[in-house]
Symmetry: C2
Subunit: 241 residues, 2 copies
């Protein structure tokens, strides 16, 4: 069972220019719900409904939904409301192409800046990933895997890259949830461990190379030929099941 809210407000606020106060809180909770697959792609996010759940007015909900729309987790259609984003195959390719271009460079920079303390934190993080995988908590492992990449971007001390990477990774989580051939393989923390070793040796080029092949692996581990299973409810009803 998914233990709650792997992402903290701080982990976002660090590199994010988000609306202040309660809006941020709701952003985080919505984001966690989406990434944990409790809100499935395509699900409608009615302002009234969401507002009642979080016992807030539509005003703040709207702000949160717009913020999430900017990161690509939510799609807002004019006069038709907000929906959990359902990334297309093309979008999936684009996101991973962008990551493959940007994250190796970010990794190179992180290697220059990384401190002993950072290394310790990352080590603990990887342990947490193993734990989640061992207990078959896929959605948590997925979330932790994403946070690992975001942590590296933050170590790079480059706010612009951090913002870009954060947005790409949240989208990736959705994409992996939708398109991964075998979700558990997408969470493999082997590459993360290798990355850590390169970091500890201070070998930025090796780290960048590992990151690149890690992303290529993730990309090719997606099933981007057929559309994800969907629309079952209506079909089932008609089939008489």
């Amino acid at each position: 069972m998914p233990s709650d809210t792997p992402l903290t407000p701080q982990s976002l606020d660090a590199s994010f220019s988000l609306p202040p106060g309660r809006v941020l809180d709701i952003c985080v909770r919505l984001q966690n719900a989406i990434l944990a697959q409790r809100l499935k792609p395509g699900a409608k996010l009615s302002e009234d409904e969401v507002g009642e759940i979080f016992s807030s007015s539509r005003t703040v909900i709207r702000a949160a939904l717009q913020a999430l729309a900017h990161t690509g987790l939510v799609e807002i259609k004019k006069n038709r409301g907000a929906y959990v984003a359902k990334p297309t195959i093309i979008n999936a390719h684009e996101v991973f192409e962008a990551r493959t271009l940007i994250e190796p460079e970010v990794t190179r920079r992180a290697a220059k800046n990384i401190t002993a303390e950072d290394l310790k934190k990352l080590t603990k993080h990887i342990e947490a990933e193993h734990l989640a995988l061992a207990s078959n908590d896929i959605s948590k492992a997925l979330a932790l895997s994403g946070i690992f990449h975001i942590a590296i971007a933050n170590i790079a001390s480059h706010a612009v890259y951090s913002n870009i990477v954060q947005s790409l990774i949240t989208q990736s989580s959705l994409i992996i949830a939708l398109y991964a051939k075998r979700p558990d393989t997408a969470c493999e923390s082997h590459s993360h461990a290798a990355l850590l070793e390169a970091f500890s040796k201070g070998d930025g080029e090796a780290a960048a190379a590992i990151m690149q092949s890690h992303l290529v692996d993730l990309h090719s581990g997606l099933n981007l030929r057929t559309l994800p299973v969907e629309q079952p409810s209506l079909a089932k009803a008609l089939a008489g099941i």
Copy 2:
């Protein structure tokens, strides 16, 4: 004198997930005002004031300001309101580093997709740039120069890159306005013409190389050692002037 609104709503909406309807309109007008330097960095954007100018309620103004905050043109401080962003020197470096990484790749992709029609449009665009420069309309030339880069990103047919590039370029315009040693040199359309030639030859690698050196030139054309004239009030008071 600046002829009005170089950016059209369409030119934004194409690659942007923005709030619908009137909010988008106000976003564009605010953005134009900021990029045209009619709103200077650090200027306060009071919701009431802006709302009265555009004769809209604070609700829609808030949405627009939040959207602009996401692109980095506006900074929102909790309980203190929105201000035109005043990019730091660090931020300036970061933005151009990111552009130097991303735009050459985008250019490479654009070279693969570019059509005869696209080439025609870009040619006309460069003519407009020359015209603006000839008539000493620096702010217009600057805006056009930005649009040129955005146009290339759109030709690349890569929505993710388009979004990133668009955000980086709007920030760049602010940065150039603040830090350019000689604003007119930042608008030089020579590189753009060279780019066009590479495109017409179908030479993607050459185009990418030109784009990269173009960006390096822009970056090194900035005066990023001294802060832009500001903060004088307190310093002067202490100095006794």
